[in-house]
């Protein structure tokens, strides 16, 4: 199936990255749209985890298998490398313990695909430094008193974090207005999208 031009650059990139017939876990899969496209385009075996009840009904209507639960508690049962890919598409900044969740995602998945809104985008910087207000931007559309986001990080923060945790960034795409950003992404990209892995150095912890 040809990749649809109408879908976002983020989804198109993920669809390119994921190998056909692979096994995919989507953490915070929302209405199941990404998994549904992965099933159609790449014939993956997909499983979602999602906390919102209405989103569960939408997943089920698309034929997506989904667990109604919190990402923060969703992974301990899975054995190491149970999935080819674990996806955290715009859900990473919403979990309670991102460090724990990513560690678990890298344990149960061979590779992790992760995206998040870039908190140091120039429009966010403008909100903070000039207006003196918490940023409300295209990729961070929520008011401070009503936001699902619990952690705010920049593209640079994430790259530095990966270095600190010995996580390899295999691919990265920086996105602004559905176009790729190649120059100064930490300033001009509103979303960072990464394909990461972790070599565990033979130290495998059991998932059961």
């Amino acid at each position: 199936m040809p990749l649809n031009q109408d879908i976002s650059l983020e989804y198109r990139t993920i669809l390119e990255w994921v190998r056909p017939e692979s096994v995919v876990l989507d953490l915070g899969c929302g209405d199941g749209e990404l998994l549904s496209q992965l099933v159609q385009a790449k014939n993956v075996r997909g499983q979602g985890i999602e906390i919102d009840e209405q989103a569960i009904y939408q997943c089920v209507a698309k034929g997506i298998s989904v667990f109604h639960e919190d990402i923060d508690n969703g992974l301990p049962e899975y054995g190491d490398k149970s999935f080819d890919y674990v996806i955290l598409s715009q859900s990473f900044q919403q979990v309670r313990k991102p460090d724990e969740v990513l560690k678990e995602a890298l344990r149960v998945g061979r590779q992790v695909i992760i995206s998040f809104p870039n908190f140091s985008h120039y429009s966010a910087r403008y909100h903070i430094s000039i207006k003196g207000k918490a940023p409300v931007t295209l990729s961070l559309p929520y008011e401070w008193y009503d936001t699902p986001n619990t952690h705010f990080l920049s593209i640079s923060d994430f790259i530095q974090y990966c270095r600190k945790r010995n996580i390899q960034i295999e691919k990265a795409v920086y996105i602004e207005n559905d176009r790729p950003i190649r120059i100064l992404p930490n300033l001009f990209a509103s979303v960072g999208l990464f394909l990461i892995t972790k070599e565990q150095g033979g130290k495998h912890t059991s998932g059961k």
Binding site: C59, V60, E69
Partner: protein, 398 residues
Amino acid sequence: MTPTNPSPSVDSDIKQGSRRNPEVSKQTSSVGSIETQYIEFAHYPDEFILENGDKLGPITVAYETYGKLNPQRTNAILLLHALSGDAHAAGFHKGDEKPGWWDEMIGPGKGFDTDKYFVICSNVLGGCKGTTGPSSINPKTGKHYGFDFPVISISDMVKVQKHLIDHLKIDQLLSVAGGSMGGMQALEWIAAYPDKVKSAMVIASATRHSPQQIAFNEVGRQAIMADPHWRGGHYYGGHLPAKGLSVARMIGHITYMSETSMAEKFGRRHGQNGKPHKFSNGFEVEEYLHNRGDNFIKRFDPNTYLYITKAIDTFDVSRGKPLYDVFKGIKTKILVIAFKSDWLYPASQSREIVRACKVAGIDTTYCEVDSTYGHDAFLLEVEEETHLVKHFLRKASA
């Protein structure tokens, strides 16, 4: 053997508060007039061997079917009823005004769409609505079995259902589905006959009873056995232990509701027919419980209550192993549904099933419906269940 007490459907009173499914038009969606059918098997000397080693035979199974079996025989769904249910899941018996116990879910265009699927429901072994149970006649004595009826298990119920499915020449069921005790049977189907079930729906259920759940059942059983009319289970032909069964049913109804649903349904209002006396205030909730309890004897056998609650309490699908070992290698697709306000079968028990499915790598969907109806929700949240069941079955059929 025929049902001794043909009577209105299960918990029709509760259903008045149920949410209608807007997608379905009431007039056109009934399966219409339905008759219960019967098969008989396990005649001497080929009697049925129960899980505990006892023999039982012959066995009559009461069942109903809705919709048509396709020529490939691949569209059959077996529905599994709860404690007080029966084979009459949908449509109307002649002369009845009330339809079967899950009528809102079964019919053309409904969750279990009878335009697409062949839906089967049978009364469980040990029941009192047409399938052999303690109120049936023991061929050896010519009298009701009573307390001479052997102890049965959920696994025995499922084996009897398997016999019915074989009789109907169905090699593999598209799905098995049930709530509460019905969910336990669905789990037992997956564990015992994984190749015979393409998919399974486990609703408001558990892999095994917790001490709290056993405790409530034990109080119910003690209430029945404390009734002087129970007479060691041999009360047939005389006074029935109606008060004992009534108290058991009252306890049951308390556990089926939530604090919120009780507050919404009754508040502290006084009923119309309440007869206040020194220790009863005529509160609506009291009247409701008396009513539900007193009417239960008209359609349910006290001994069946004892046998079936015992079967529920002793059930443990894990068979002493980690549950994921039982589920390992199973290809059955599973849908697990729990309800947030259900404290009798709390969502944590459904999540236990889900955890095992994760480890075993089973294709599973889990939904925790935000309902205030408590355990009754599995009969009442028709809109949500219709959506989940309909799409799950479409996926299972693919």
